[in-house]
Symmetry: C2
Subunit: 411 residues, 2 copies
């Protein structure tokens, strides 16, 4: 007789990190009915996927390189392309040894922790920050300490104060984790002076910088400052672990990202990557698409699409939002960050939003120490259809307006 | 001015596990010239890759399911197919909740450690065992203790003795790690009675079993006993974490494997899988190939190919090997295990073999406690071309014969 699998989870045998491990990144946005307007996740626009081109590339890849991409190993084509691409973009001299392909930037962050984080080690994070990264850091048993955000990303005065305060207690963080470009969730971009300052502080306090540049390249207007990684390469200190991804610029589901760092740091991180290799099929198809220049042309196309959506959402926010609501003005990326009046709770309001077929990300999950973000909302303009943005923001504004009015009624 | 990346590895900042982490699985077999006969790695036969069929499937997959497989998420198609396939094979009642797709069985093993292994926790391993798994366990900071092999895999008397001995010291291992079927590196298969016995001992001593079934399905003749996982499912204790892979039966480079376990254990393991998802492109192409029955037909074809290669290698061993050499007789899988006279050293002999354009795996790397295997060789018959086997074994036999003679000359 076959008994269906029983439910023992052997809790007493679990590793400490597994006792309280929270769900994997990405599960959250699978729960809603298809007619719900998704303002929640950092998902790319699926109408923009270059399906025809990639389909042909995939067909050709298996015929032309099948004996390599079906076999064990890690062919160097995409790694070399990435190094060359970064060199061209920022006038660097990276070699393939500076690059490690990873299973999305999620795995890049996870591996950086495996290499540098012992249980209890401190990671400084922006408040707010990317919830998926916070989960990864918690799974790595790191202690997360918040650094306040300023107008352009992490506040450098707050960072120095925190570093000095910890030093006085004999504590040294392992990482400063930052999303300096089109910040997740706030949308802002750190200027050159602050990037230089963060590097100075990292050197002074002997800390590594973990630079998450997932939205790199999605610039709608103006100029981009150099990455902190590029600034660090020019100084030659090798103190930055830079993570990137193809998820926003090509295909999220292929789980392709990379680490750029000094060769020695890459070697250390690679030695803990015990999944054999990074998806040779997807890597080779991405390489086939990139080497012809099609990827760069595709990124230009994406910039136009996301700029239009950002504009549409900004206009709708200006048109419909109650005067008490504030929001960020992103120069690129996927997100706008809303600040509601302090007495509103974005998490409890979410239930009403879902009933109204609308999902956003409540801000609270973006705070490492669990206090902030109660009256914040992250809106993603990347996935939602352009034509739905105006009505979705209208609906959201009405909901917020109702909440503001309800909060005024004496209880 | 751009300074090329410098070489600081920030050793003093590294996590403990990273201080001594050894290279990633799979790097070892990339170093030899193309005319070297590769008897070393568990690489599949690349002439058997179904390139035409997979090329068509990949082309169609992106056109027909691109909006899903280029997006975030983890579509359930392949997971459901795997559950159904295992149910059919072993008359089980698994649901998709019993299955977690992983980046090869390498990641499956790594995740099992992340879920259950705290630094210093004990894993019992066969002596010898799979070197890649031993590296993964060491990277997880586990303490590895060897259990001797008998004629059919791990010796159950030795296992009980080790468990009792540890219990007397107040120690309880977390895992018994076993490769019961077409063992890596020895090639033998554990019989039903020992599988039952291992389960009994796991229950008695409250230990989990980590069953690595990478070579499952590659049976050349005779009958297969049930997997330990299936035996455990029938008892309903949910004590086995079973790992499998598409690497040997479809495409190693796509990094597709799975964990089968009780839903609660799967949930725990999944919560630590922080790479976002498992390669949606490869998963969907594998699913497309599997759902039509083509995968099962392909496995039959592979069995014929590998049986023929095994036969060729066994004949050559019988024909050429000196009388002092012994070897295993695998009923399936990829490997034959050679035992040379005790005064020979397979690791030092490797240099001569490489000069003779021949590579094998010295046995020493397969032992967790670093003592055994000095006079052992793992031969892989999977990758080498059929026509090369006879001459390769002839050459190896001559080398061994020379070593035997040299060892006889009084020094």
């Amino acid at each position: 007789m076959t008994i269906s699998a029983e439910q023992t989870d052997y809790t007493e045998l679990l590793a400490k990190r597994a006792q309280a491990a929270s769900g994997a990144t990405g599960a959250a946005f699978m729960r809603f009915s298809p007619d719900t307007v998704m303002l929640v996740a950092g998902m790319p626009d699926e109408d923009a996927f270059p399906l025809e081109a990639l389909s042909k590339k995939a067909e050709a890849a298996i015929l032309e390189a099948g004996k390599t991409i079906l076999q064990y190993g890690q062919p160097k084509e995409l790694t070399e392309w990435v190094a060359g691409f970064m060199n061209k973009e920022e006038n660097l001299e990276l070699k393939p040894e500076n690059i490690l392909l990873t299973c999305g930037s999620s795995q890049a962050l996870s591996l950086a922790c495996r290499a540098f984080i012992d249980p209890g080690d401190i990671i400084l994070v922006e408040a707010p920050s990317f919830g998926g990264a916070l989960r990864t850091f918690r799974n790595a048993e790191a202690k997360l300490l918040e650094v306040a955000m300023g107008e352009e990303g992490m506040d450098m005065v707050a960072l120095e104060q925190k570093l000095a305060e910890l030093k006085a207690q004999g504590l040294r963080p392992k990482f400063i984790y930052t999303i300096p470009t089109f910040h997740n969730p706030v949308g802002v971009t750190m200027g050159l002076a602050d990037r230089q300052r963060m590097l100075d502080l990292a050197v002074e306090y002997d800390v590594m910088i973990l630079e998450d540049d997932a939205y790199h390249g999605l610039l709608f207007e103006g100029e981009m400052p150099p990455t902190i990684f590029a600034l660090d390469e020019r100084r030659g200190t090798g103190r930055v672990i830079h993570t990137r991804t193809f998820s926003k610029i090509l295909a999220a589901g292929w789980r392709l990202g990379w680490v750029a760092a000094s060769p020695k740091v890459v070697e250390r991180i690679q030695s803990l990557k015990d999944d054999g290799a990074t998806n040779l099929l997807g890597s080779y198809v991405a390489y086939s698409f990139a080497k012809t220049g099609e990827l760069e042309a595709h990124i230009e196309k994406l910039v136009n699409i996301y700029r239009q959506k950002r504009n549409r959402m900004m206009s709708a926010l200006e048109r419909y939002m109650p005067g008490e609501v504030q929001w960020s003005n992103p120069q690129g990326g996927f997100f706008i960050w809303l600040t509601l009046p302090e007495n509103l709770n974005a998490s409890t309001m979410l239930k009403k939003a879902v009933e109204a077929k609308l999902v956003y990300l409540p801000g609270a999950g973006c705070y490492a120490e669990g206090q902030g973000g109660k009256n914040n909302i992250r809106l993603s303009f990347s996935f939602v259809k352009l034509a739905q943005i105006d009505s979705a923001i209208h609906k959201l504004a009405e909901l917020i307006d109702e909440e503001i009015k309800a909060a005024r009624i004496p209880g």
